[in-house]
């Protein structure tokens, strides 16, 4: 009987405890509920314009030197501003810097920071904030994944690799509002590189006092169109208009909610029920929704391609590589396999890069690869003869495990069978395993993707220079390396682009990778949502966004 009593008491205690936790949370939730419901209420008008977006996941970090991915860039680009900011034409325009001088030799940049540029805590944005931020990014102890972007600056690479001193990094605050940067070599696209969040300033007074200033909303200090009002980790971020922003009059929204919903169906269902103002299209619903009126489709600087491993048979042979490329019907892959409005890739550099003469890089350099089964067969035969093959060595095509990748790989497998009569074995691996093997040149023929970090064709083309960390093909050509050096350092912009055109043509002729399709951005937007600038280089800008 005693034991029974004990049991009853235990059960009772558990229930009371459970009830208590429920009550406690109920109290807490009530507050948050009120908060959360505001935007959906009729109080909307009173509260001003509120945009409800989805960031997918928690940002990796809002430390501009650490958060080197899209989930960090999208919030950062709206909370902070660099010297330059991408305009509606996706070109680097004045940001915090009002104007700049570039020396004759293209090496020294002198930026003049706006007098009225302020941090969200009211401090003025000073040149020292940039110097501090960039040197912090380059400090090897910071371990910034973005640091290599700053290697254009003199002394940066040495400092970052531990060989040099911070004092030799040529970023100097000349006075309160003047920043001088000396580059290693002339870099025609340096102003574009500066739009990347990695180059955003850090309020040095705040950061010196609290190195973890970026981890919570109440310590976060930005200088962008919005400021971080609240941040419930893994749950939600709320931005409000930053009254200290120098161009606050252009900002139309009062508030932006960022949910963190990482399920493509759920975020679509939230969009349907009005809990989100924008959403992506779940793959299963692509056919149904892609042609709707409320769909935004734009380029996204990126390419899906397949790398040949030039150190493995039979891909040491150029003609065999070309034959494989000619056997690929990219149109069909884009239209029927990947769908979602993507464009087939007939070149390597994705559309959206405007040349100094005003034409698009892609348009100017035209189609560099094509679909031609007849020629493919012929080249394969010739290539096999050159190598003395009676039979092609076995070929394995690898991709990282993912439904779309699988579908594309299977389509390719069919095309190689139909057009070349070659049987290709498919193999899929988990991303990290795959990535490691690809880097070590252990895969013969493997899937790849490239997403641009900054707005210049050299960003992609540079990958294939000899011994580049991103090369992963075994390709090495002096001529190509020279073209890329020219494409990076030539001070005459037109000549620089000429070199890049030639480099891309060479890549296609050598056929060290098969371009498949370009990435794009597909977003469902609710009625009344306007003016969200979606740049092909990855992050969006809410500065001019509006909700009617």
């Amino acid at each position: 009987m005693k034991k029974l009593l004990f049991l009853l008491m235990a059960v009772f205690t558990i229930f009371v405890l459970a009830a208590c936790t429920a009550n406690e949370n109920a109290g807490k939730s009530d507050e948050t509920e009120n908060k959360g419901n505001e935007p959906g209420d009729s109080k909307d008008v009173e509260n001003g314009k509120v945009l409800k977006l989805n960031n997918g996941t928690e940002p990796t970090s809002l430390d501009p030197s650490i958060g080197f991915d899209a989930v960090s860039w999208d919030p950062l680009n709206n909370l902070m501003e660099g010297l330059t900011r991408l305009d509606s034409e996706h070109k680097a325009a004045e940001g915090v810097a009002e104007k700049w001088d570039i020396s004759e030799d293209g090496l020294t940049y002198t930026f003049q920071i706006r007098e009225n540029a302020k941090w969200s805590n009211g401090d003025p944005v000073v040149a020292k904030d940039f110097e501090y931020a960039w040197k912090y990014m380059l400090n090897p102890d910071t371990a910034s994944p973005a640091a290599f972007l700053a290697y254009f600056i003199k002394g940066a690479e040495d400092y970052n690799s531990g060989d040099g001193s911070v004092d030799d990094v040529m970023v100097t605050a000349k006075d309160e509002k003047t920043l001088e940067v000396v580059l290693e070599q002339p870099t025609g696209f340096f102003l574009d590189v500066l739009t990347n969040p990695a180059f955003f300033p850090i309020n040095h007074k705040v950061a010196e006092e609290n190195p973890n200033w970026h981890a919570e909303a109440d310590t976060f200090v930005g200088n962008g169109p919005f400021k971080l009002d609240s941040w419930k980790h893994d749950e939600e971020m709320v931005f409000v208009k930053n009254e200290h922003y120098w161009d606050v009059d252009s900002v139309k929204l009062d508030k932006v909610h960022f949910a963190m919903v990482n399920d493509s169906n759920t975020q679509y269902q939230m969009f349907q029920s009005g809990e989100l103002d924008t959403a992506s299209i779940p793959p299963e619903l692509s056919d149904e929704l892609i042609n709707g009126d409320n769909v935004f489709i734009g380029p996204y600087g990126g390419l899906e391609f397949y790398r040949f491993n030039l150190t493995m048979e039979p891909f040491q042979n150029k003609k065999i590589r070309q034959a494989f490329s000619l056997a690929v019907n990219r149109e069909d892959i884009a239209k029927y396999v990947v769908k979602n409005g993507v464009e087939p890739a007939y070149g390597f550099v994705s559309p959206g890069y405007t040349s100094p003469t005003g034409t698009d890089f892609r348009e100017k350099n035209g189609d560099l690869v094509s679909y031609d089964p007849e020629k493919a067969k012929q080249l394969l035969e010739e290539g096999m003869k050159e190598e003395g093959y009676n039979e092609l060595p076995p070929i394995t095509l690898s991709y990282n495990t993912n439904d779309t990748n699988k579908a594309v790989a299977e389509a390719l497998q069919n095309m190689f069978m139909d057009n070349l009569g070659v049987e290709v074995t498919l193999e899929n691996q988990e991303w990290n395993v795959f990535s490691e093997a690809q880097k070590a040149l252990e895969l013969q023929f493997s899937r790849s993707s490239f997403i641009n970090d900054y707005n210049d064709p050299v960003n992609f083309l540079e990958s294939f220079i000899t011994d580049s960390y991103m090369n992963r093909t075994g390709f090495s050509s002096k001529e190509y390396d020279e073209l890329i050096t020219k494409g990076k350092t030539e001070t005459n912009e037109e000549k620089r682009w000429e070199a890049l055109y030639e480099a891309e043509r060479m890549l296609a002729d050598e056929m060290i990778a098969i371009p498949i399709r370009y990435y794009n951005t597909v977003v469902l937007e609710a009625d009344g949502v306007e003016g969200i600038l979606r740049h092909p280089v990855g992050y969006f800008d809410l500065k001019y966004a509006d909700k009617k």
Binding site: K3, F6, L7, A18, T21, A22, N25, A26, S29, T32, E33, K35, G36, T60, S61, L62, D63, I66, F68, D69, P140, D141, T142, A143, P145, A146, A147, F148, E157, N160, S161, H214, A215, H233, D234, E235, E236, A259, M260, V261, N262, D263, N265, T266, Q269, M270, S273, E275, E430, W431, N432, V433, S435, E436, S449, F450, I451, D453, Y469, M470
Partner: protein, 310 residues
């Protein structure tokens, strides 16, 4: 009793150490590094990253560092979210998963036992078939399908509940329903079958013959014995549900800790892998221990410790 608990405690620590060591060996032998991403990178940057997270040190040093972090209960920063320590992640995620879990367990246990008892009492009747029909559905429909279905019907079409996120008790209803159905079905089936067995026992007949009130017989005499198997599965069930579930938390955008189990492995986020493993195994071991103790209370025939002189 005290000696028994101490002995168990020692075994628990030993078990934990074996789990930690095994996890470390497995974790570091999967190919791939935490720093492979879609983004462009370069050699120097990778080296700096490895150095920053002590991954350039020899394996045994890394192992000792992990052991140290476990003993001091400070797992350091996550690699995927460098601003957050593993303790932050778990400290934030666990209460939410726990809250969702405890409600789910209560719903599952009460409804499961009720369904099971009803089914047993009306053996081969309509209620039995209905209850077991529900149970079979509950077991066979995966919770993520149920979740999507519930959202589509109850949130999008009929607009009774919010679709997702974690803000109010209303937000809790759908995930609890989706999560509780499976365990409820299991408990219902278990309760029914043991209940049927118990009801044919002599002592029940005896109790009936004595003219005890039927509800008293069921609750006091039959159910208490029928609960044994339910208690057996409660340990694993509690540990599983209270520490969060990846799929349901992902679908409903609940900021619990379930996702860290899966994502930390995908990202090779070593400190988080160790943190979640230690946390989960410690939790599970304690739950199993509590279950063993609970046996003793529910069933006097089971002795957790041998009484002296017996």
């Amino acid at each position: 009793m005290l000696r028994y608990i101490l002995k168990r405690l020692l075994i628990m620590i030993l078990t934990l150490w074996i789990i930690i060591t095994l996890t470390f060996v497995l974790m570091t032998s999967i190919p791939g590094s935490p720093f492979t991403s879609d983004q462009t990178s370069n050699e120097t940057v990778q080296q700096n990253l490895e150095k920053h997270y002590n991954l350039d040190k020899p394996k045994y040093m890394q192992y000792l560092l992990y052991l140290k972090s476990i003993v001091t209960l400070d797992f350091g920063p996550s690699i995927k979210q460098p601003n957050q320590t593993v303790n932050d992640l778990l400290g934030r995620g666990f209460p939410i998963s726990f809250e969702l879990g405890i409600v789910t367990v209560i719903v599952a246990v009460i409804s499961g036992i009720t369904l099971g008892v009803l089914a047993a009492l009306r053996h081969n009747g309509i209620i039995d078939y209905l209850a077991m029909g529900i149970a079979v559905l509950g077991i066979s429909i995966p919770n993520f399908i149920l979740a999507t279905l519930l959202i589509q019907k109850l949130a999008v079409d009929w607009e009774i509940f919010p679709v997702a996120t974690w803000a109010s008790p209303m937000h809790m209803v759908l995930p609890v329903l989706a999560l509780a159905t499976g365990p409820m079905a299991i408990i219902a089936r278990l309760t029914r079958s043991t209940m049927l067995e118990v009801l044919t026992q002599d002592y029940i007949k005896m109790a009936r013959a004595k003219g005890l009130a039927p509800w008293k017989i069921i609750i006091k005499h039959a159910l208490r014995n029928a609960l044994m198997p339910v208690i057996t599965i409660m340990g694993t069930l509690l540990a599983g549900i209270l520490t969060g579930t990846f799929v349901i938390e992902q679908i409903f955008a609940i900021p619990g800790m379930g996702k860290y189990f899966v994502e930390s492995i995908n990202h090779r986020d070593y400190p988080v892998i160790m943190g979640t493993t230690v946390f989960y195994s410690a939790f599970l071991i304690i739950m199993l221990f509590l279950v063993d103790i609970a046996y003793g209370f529910v069933d006097p025939r089971i002795k957790v410790t041998k009484k002296e002189g017996e």
